[in-house]
């Protein structure tokens, strides 16, 4: 076999190797989801979603954890959203190229790489202890809001960047001030992109477990939260708790709760992709 033939053969081999690698992760994920469906799907019914936690696996439900997740998501959004969008507008439209902007940029890129459990330690000292919120919904929401802040800022900046410069020039030429340009032209034009980033950030927040365990969120909470100062559990912590128990019944519960959590995550991701595609085709 001469050199050319050998090289062509290697080329073909690598092509199939590449295809195999590309699908390896997805196939493993599919196997896993399949096995979880087999384990957990028959456990899911209305009772499972509306029952309180219990020591008996077959009577336990996810109601308090699910409601905890909803509360946490709601407050995380209203804290992180205005902060993140405002910070991104400042960086992209006001402070461009300044010394402060480059410092902020390094800082945000670093924050995005800080492990989530470290945010838990921050939340434990600052929100739970110093600000005396206790292990409440509010303390958990502040912690997660800081965690997703870099994601919201980065995606909002990308969305603002995608708005053509001609829009800004046209607005200024008509005598609009900076803020008028931002609020009436740039924000509406980048709305789709900002929304995509926020939904992706929320899908990250809904699956976060470690920082909430660190601030002291409980696995067993007898009632759903009724105010932001109440104790709470969330779906991933409930799953973690059930995984740690030896009885088989709880493993089935964990599988069933995972189906619900994955459903929420995938729906959020699906919505984000949908908005991104729609927005991108609109920009063009």
């Amino acid at each position: 076999m001469n050199n050319i033939k050998k090289n062509r053969l290697l080329d073909q081999v690598f092509k199939y190797w590449g295809i195999a690698c590309t699908f390896l992760g997805l196939v493993l994920l599919a196997i896993f989801i399949g096995s979880i469906l087999v384990d957990g799907i028959q456990r899911i019914d209305w009772d499972f979603i509306t029952s309180l936690p219990s020591r008996k696996a077959e009577r336990a439900g996810i109601y308090t954890a699910l409601m905890g997740s909803v509360w946490i998501l709601f407050f995380t959004t209203i804290i992180a959203l205005p902060l993140g969008i405002a910070a991104a507008i400042y960086l992209e439209e006001y402070a461009k190229e300044s010394k402060m902007a480059s410092l902020l940029e390094v800082n945000i890129s670093n924050l995005a790489g800080v492990p989530s459990i470290i945010y838990g330690l921050l939340g434990l000292e600052v929100f739970v202890r110093i600000m005396e919120m206790g292990a409440s919904v509010l303390a958990g929401s502040f912690t997660l809001a800081l965690l997703i802040l870099p994601i919201v800022i980065v995606s909002t900046r990308e969305a603002l960047k995608a708005v053509p410069k001609s829009v800004r020039d046209a607005s200024f030429a008509l005598g609009a001030s900076k803020w008028q340009t931002v609020s009436r032209q740039l924000l509406p034009a980048s709305f789709g992109g900002i929304l995509t980033g926020i939904i992706l950030a929320l899908s990250r927040a809904v699956g976060e477990t470690a920082p909430l365990i660190v601030i002291g969120a409980l696995a067993y909470v007898p009632f759903a939260p009724e105010s932001p100062m109440d104790e709470f559990s969330v779906l991933p912590i409930q799953i973690f708790n059930w995984i740690s128990r030896p009885q088989h019944g709880f493993e089935v519960n964990a599988a069933a709760a995972i189906i619900i959590l994955l459903l929420i995550t995938f729906i959020l991701n699906g919505i984000a992709v949908y908005f991104r595609n729609r927005w991108q085709s609109k920009l063009k």
């Binding site: 690598f14 493993l28 921050l122 900076k178």
Partner: protein
Amino acid sequence: MRKIKERVIEKGLQASALVTIAVTVGIILVLSIEAIRFFSEVSIIDFLTDTQWTPLYTDKHFGILPLLSGTLLTSFIAIIFAVPVGLSISIYISEYAPRSFRKTIKPALELLAAVPTVVYGFFALTVVTPFLQSFIPGLSGFNSLSAGLVMGIMIIPFISSLSEDALHAVPNSLREAAYGMGSTKLQNSFRVLVPAASSGIIVSIILAISRAIGETMIVAIAAGQQPRLTFDPTVPVETITAYIVQVSLGDVQHGSLEYRTIFAAGITLFIFTFLLNTISYRIRKKFREKYE
């Protein structure tokens, strides 16, 4: 009037941006203050050289090495698995696959990173470990091999996506020159494009390492809670992150020495990831200049 309003708005936006600085300062302050209190009771030499970590027992030892070895071992397994796979994916998508395939497969791969980590932990414990036990006799129910492999699956998209962007950004003239010399796609990929995109690829790998070191739930569920200084992938270990979770789940008094151990462990973790992130940021800055 309008000018004042504009100034107020700008200051408000600036304040929001400065919150991110406050977060960084807050993290560093919180970790250092508690860690300094910890090191006033435990000598830093013991912390760095003792080979046992038993703060929750009566015979207390505070050597970080066992937690560090657990963290490095699980991360190493994840990286060894994810780098070849992720890099192959990026080359395949960038150089071999049709353009339309790229658009559908990238979001699909990113789904791997979107799955909550507690779910991956369950996968490692209930599917991967029993599967590995079927042909690795003596594999413990909790082990770093299974946790590391599953973590590897999770970080594949970090490597494949960023590396693919880097390969994609290599100017077409380089490709055309290599093809003009009669090279195959494979030769072109490994001898021209990968070296040309090397800084971007290195950044993706560093970020993946940083992600693996800070990962918590997979290792807390599947790798065990037994700190030990070993590089044997078949036995239970404990990572820094898993230890913090273990203490947080128990009843540890605020202000006690046990409570402070999680901050001492936390600052160790923070220093590692901070260094990795800073290196990757530096490389990325340089890389951007190269092509623009």
